[in-house]
């Protein structure tokens, strides 16, 4: 006789998306190391006395017990694995964390295991939790999410002819996925982004280094801007969509509030 009890299982996860669902439920998207994205309903999670509520909020690193359903799974229990309370200490941290969550989600699929991506994401959330926000955090995360998924931009040699690039300013083609040498530059309708020599050095350093080695880098405003644009447009080309939370992260970082007559100090 077949049991009618739903199959339950336990996963480590980070909540990367949450929305209201039904009367008092929350629909969450969990990023897991071995099952990819899992969509699940946390029943009653919006009620103040819910046992789930706080643990199924965005950016929570949890261990969840899930019951399989026909279309959606449901969260039967959730306990916190890492506190990550520091993420709540400032708007820059929250917006950067939400940006990373969206990037991690966009590079994941339901049922597709990707433990390297998951571990990278959790590690960067922990860094963000403990350290002051550094504008290189999101860029380094972009770079390594691209690397893990096999989309690392070609920044060593010319993406077209493979020739070594001279140590000088070049351009980056998001459509071709890398830096192009002067000989390969001319192609109709190809958007080319400026990449100064220092920007290229910064990109290469981020691509081959752990966060600990990138943290002390004091990148200039222009290098940060160019590297950010290159990685963002490359990522947009790979994903075929825009990472929506980047706009809020940029606004918070620059702090030009909507509707304000004068910027705050």
């Amino acid at each position: 006789m077949v049991s009618s009890r739903p199959h339950t299982y336990s996963v480590e996860a980070v909540v990367v998306r949450a929305s209201d669902f039904g009367e008092a439920d929350r629909l969450v998207t969990l990023l897991t190391p071995f099952r990819g994205l899992v969509r699940a309903v946390a029943r009653g999670a919006r009620k103040p006395k819910s046992r789930l509520g706080g643990n199924v909020d965005l950016l929570r690193h949890i261990k969840a017990s899930l019951a399989e359903g026909r279309s959606l799974h449901s969260v039967s229990q959730a306990e916190s694995l890492t506190s990550l309370r520091g993420l709540h200490s400032g708007l820059e941290k929250m917006s950067t964390g939400l940006y990373m969550a969206e990037v991690a989600e966009r590079f994941s699929v339901e049922g597709g295991p990707n433990p390297a991506l998951f571990n990278q994401f959790v590690q960067m959330l922990q860094v963000l939790d403990e350290e002051p926000v550094n504008p290189l955090m999101a860029r380094w995360f972009d770079m390594h999410v691209l690397r893990i998924n096999g989309f690392l931009p070609a920044i060593s040699d010319c993406v077209d002819c493979g020739s070594a690039l001279e140590p000088k300013d070049h351009v980056f083609s998001p459509a071709r996925g890398g830096l192009v040498c002067p000989e390969c530059r001319a192609t109709e309708n190809d958007v080319l982004l400026p990449a100064s020599m220092n920007t290229i050095k910064l990109l290469r350093h981020m691509a081959r280094s752990r966060w600990d080695a990138v943290r002390p880098v004091d990148a200039g405003e222009e290098e940060l801007r160019q590297a950010g644009r290159i990685l963002r447009e490359h990522m947009q080309f790979v994903l075929d969509r825009h990472v929506r939370s980047s706009a809020f992260m940029d606004e918070v970082t620059r702090w030009r509030p909507a509707g304000a007559n004068s910027p705050s100090p």
């Binding site: 509520g53 309370r85 929250m94 606004e251």
Partner: protein, 222 residues
Amino acid sequence: MSELAPSAAAPVARLIDAFHRLPGVGPKSAQRLTYHLIRMPRDEAEELASAIIGVKDRIVFCDTCMNISESVECAICRDLTRDRTRICIVEEPLDVLAVERARAFRGMYHVLHGVISPVNGIGPDDLKLKELLVRLADGTVTEVIIATNPNLEGEATAMYIQRLLSHLGVKVTALARGLPSGADLEYADDSTLAHAMESRAEVQSSNGTGGSGGGASPGLAN
């Protein structure tokens, strides 16, 4: 036309589609509601349709607080007995009802109609923040109480508002967070417990003396 009910008659499929677009209504619920309506007496169905049209025709946003109202100024904004020096900021019109139900606040409200949700592409420009700044311009308001939901997006919205108002010299407060009445400590999540610990208050003695903790403004209830 509907992919949910490909074999249903066109008007039925259209109604299933319409229900499915409502928040929290899945495909099965949309079908159930539709077939319930088909069985419903005609006068009841007409009453429902008329109620929907009535809401769309007669309900507007209050010019002042952005709450839903039958006129350009809602009942709360018209009430001259309310404290106009305090504004409680909430995410949705339903939150106004919840705060009013508690009978602990006699000030004014401002409804944002949403919360900053970067992942869903909802930014500060999508909220009623410009209208809030207009209300604060004349200096009448001395305290803004942020009552967004105690989750990450609610907190981000609260912090954004705090920054937005920081140069105006108005006091910005937020609702306290902690354990709900009647709950068991062992089931509280660590964040709620940590907040409760940070916002702990001195235990009041039975004669009402003792302790200055709590932090809430005593004048709010009256």
